[in-house]
């Protein structure tokens, strides 16, 4: 049984459709990431699951029961917000205890519960401070602790890392993932950052313009994208697309290699003109264009420097590049994946 399912959820704000018929089933204990560009409707969808917004159409089921119209506090959810939403006038202890107090948990039970959550997140020494005295990373842990004490059936996390600096973000990503694995609670995590999505998600739902484009494991999303949007949204640099018949042909920059590097299997060859190269240490990015198609098309290649000597590829040169046929993706004129070209 899935912990949460959404059936044909839509949400209109006046003329604007923020969420356009999203259906999604999240399994028990799963870490599901909602990934999409800003304004794609992912946060609105999360707020509908939380009960902070009311959907215009469709059903939300939590633990098999329809919860449409059930207020947030009765849904068994806990939420961590982008700027954490800590209560500035409470101490950290009171912040974490607040959800228990609203549930009228007897006082003697509150203290050990708060201590347990604080210990799990390593913030025992901060309990008597106030939010403004804490760093961004510490605030984020407090928000997680406050979510944890309620024993929720679901964690909803709304871009919880976006207020942290880049270095802290990497370690916080790791912490959240480990924390979720330890407590085993079903989690829905909203982000626009594909690195977070790929690194943390058991499965990813890619959302664009209020619609789910694809749901799958990070591997599936990356290697077997369902459409052109997913293909170009995930991956840095994004997947190369060249016009092909009425649709597009796509291939990942790291699969686009000098022909002599590919020894086995059937390949498709291209004549590639190098415009510029970027040396990034562990890899080299080559910008250039293909000829021989309808018109010159810009294509990026990502090369492992160890295998391709730096001086062998220079701007202005023509090279024979190739892609294994199994690594080519075809998209029809609507951008949908076509299995046969």
């Amino acid at each position: 049984m899935s912990a949460i399912s959404a059936n044909e959820i839509s949400k209109n704000f006046g003329e604007v459709t923020a969420v356009d018929g999203i259906s999604l089933a999240v399994r028990d204990g799963e870490f599901m990431v909602l990934l999409g560009p800003s304004g794609c409707g992912k946060t609105t969808f999360l707020r509908i699951i939380a009960g902070l917004e009311q959907q215009s159409a469709g059903d939300i089921l939590i633990g098999g029961a329809v919860v449409n119209g059930v207020p947030p506090r009765a849904r068994g959810i806990a939420m961590v917000f982008q700027s954490y939403g800590l209560y500035p006038h409470f101490t950290i202890r009171d912040n974490i205890a607040f959800p228990l107090k609203t549930q009228r948990v007897p006082k003697p039970q509150i203290r050990p519960k708060v201590a347990w959550a604080a210990q799990l997140l390593g913030i025992e020494h901060l309990l008597d401070r106030r939010p403004r005295q804490l760093s961004g990373g510490e605030r984020q842990r407090v928000a997680l602790a406050r979510a944890l004490v309620r024993d929720p059936t679901v964690f909803l996390l709304d871009e919880p890392l976006s207020n942290l600096d880049a270095k802290l973000r990497a370690s916080a990503r790791n912490e959240i993932k480990q924390f979720q694995q330890r407590v085993g609670t079903t989690t829905i995590y909203v982000t626009h950052d594909q690195v977070e999505a790929m690194g943390m998600g058991d499965r990813i739902a890619v959302i664009n313009q209020g619609k789910v484009r694809q749901v799958g494991t990070p591997t599936t999303i990356y290697e077997d994208p369902a459409d052109r949007f997913v293909a170009t949204f995930v991956g840095t640099p994004p997947m190369n697309l060249v016009t092909w018949n009425s649709g597009h042909l796509g291939f990942r920059p790291e699969h686009f290699l000098p022909k002599e590097m590919i020894q086995d299997g059937a390949v498709t060859e291209f004549s590639y003109r190098v415009n510029r190269t970027e040396y990034l240490g562990s890899e080299r990015i080559v910008y250039g264009e293909l000829d021989g198609l309808l018109s010159p098309q810009e294509v990026t290649a990502k090369l492992p420097p160890a295998h391709v000597p730096l001086e062998s590829i220079r701007p202005g040169e023509w090279h024979a590049f190739a892609v294994r046929n199994g690594q080519l993706c075809y998209f029809d004129e609507d951008g949908k994946r076509a299995r046969r070209h």
Binding site: P72, R73, I77, Y84, G85, P88, H89, T102, Q103
Partner: protein, 309 residues
């Protein structure tokens, strides 16, 4: 380098260079404000202290020093003690009423409804209308014969003509009337203060409280009110200081009557010092406001500092 620097200096007047110094410029900007306070606040205050310690009347303008005799005489008078109590009742009553109206007004105005912008603009009117005009209007509403309130209640059959209250004629009702008029004048200000405070509470905090299970009352009184308290307290200081020193509403509506039931310090000081010409006692009465306001401001400023977030 030296040559260039000299050239730049040479192209500007001495005057401009002097005003480039932060100390000079700062002093120049502050001078008007300091002069204003010294001449229009400081000087009259010292003059009042001086009058209060003398036997000065407009019929016998002598600066004969009498020490604290005026204060002792003032405190011993029943009217003054009644007035001091009235001033507190008037101030506290109208502030509480104004805050309650302001809080609920702000909550109502936060909800989207058709014509909200117009209502928001209109609600500020009591504050913008000259107090003399507004008080005259209220005076007619409370009039013993022509009271709109009474006539409406009688017409609706909710009250008998014989029971119609004489709003400004009965001591308790008269105090209620001046409090209502003052609260009516103060509440748009309270609404603005509450609106500013509530809209400044981060949406994430409100959403978190909702998800954490806080209902309407808990969200309001455990989350919103404590967060906006510093802003509200500042508004309350202003309201309290202005009300405690105010005499316009009382002067226009009841002139302290009936039999000093609505007499407040400002009006009493005006009656004794200006109308009766006993400047010394009038000054002594007015100076009783000072320690009260001074303490009040200190207490509230400490409160703000403690609650700073």
């Amino acid at each position: 380098m030296v040559a260039i620097a000299e050239k730049i200096h040479g192209s500007r007047s001495r005057f401009q260079i002097v005003f480039d110094r932060p100390r000079v410029l700062g002093a120049a900007f502050l001078t008007p404000a300091i002069l204003y306070i010294l001449l229009l606040v400081g000087l009259p205050f010292l003059l009042a202290v001086y009058y209060a310690l003398s036997a000065y009347t407009i019929y016998n303008p002598s600066y004969h020093f009498v020490g604290l005799r005026n204060f002792v005489e003032v405190v011993e008078s029943d009217i003054f003690r009644r007035t001091l109590l009235n001033t507190f009742i008037f101030t506290i009553g109208s502030q509480i009423l104004g805050l309650i109206l302001g809080k609920f007004g702000a909550l109502l105005l936060l909800r989207p409804f058709p014509g909200r912008k117009i209502v928001r603009a209109l609600i500020i009117l009591p504050w913008a209308v000259p107090i003399a005009l507004a008080t005259v209007a209220w005076e007619w509403m409370f009039d013993s014969l022509y009271s709109v309130i009474n006539r409406t209640l009688i017409a609706l059959g909710l009250m008998l003509r014989a029971d119609a209250p004489n709003w400004l004629g009965e001591p308790g009702l008269a105090m209620l009337c001046v409090i209502i008029v003052n609260a009516w004048r103060f509440f748009p200000f309270a609404i603005v203060i509450f609106l500013a405070g509530i809209t400044a509470v981060p949406q994430d905090v409100l959403d978190a409280a909702t998800v954490d299970g806080a209902g309407f009352w808990r969200r309001n009184y455990q989350i919103i009110v404590p967060i906006i308290a510093p802003i509200v307290v500042v508004g309350l200081i202003f309201g309290t200081v202005f009300t405690f020193t105010d005499l316009s509403i009382v002067y226009l509506l009841t002139n302290g009557g009936p039999v000093n039931a609505t007499q407040v310090l400002g009006n009493l000081g005006f009656q004794i010092g200006i109308l009766s010409g006993d400047v010394a006692h009038g000054a002594a009465v007015s100076l009783f406001m000072f320690p009260v306001l001074f303490l009040l401001v200190i207490v509230m400023l400490r409160f703000i500092r403690r609650r700073e977030i």
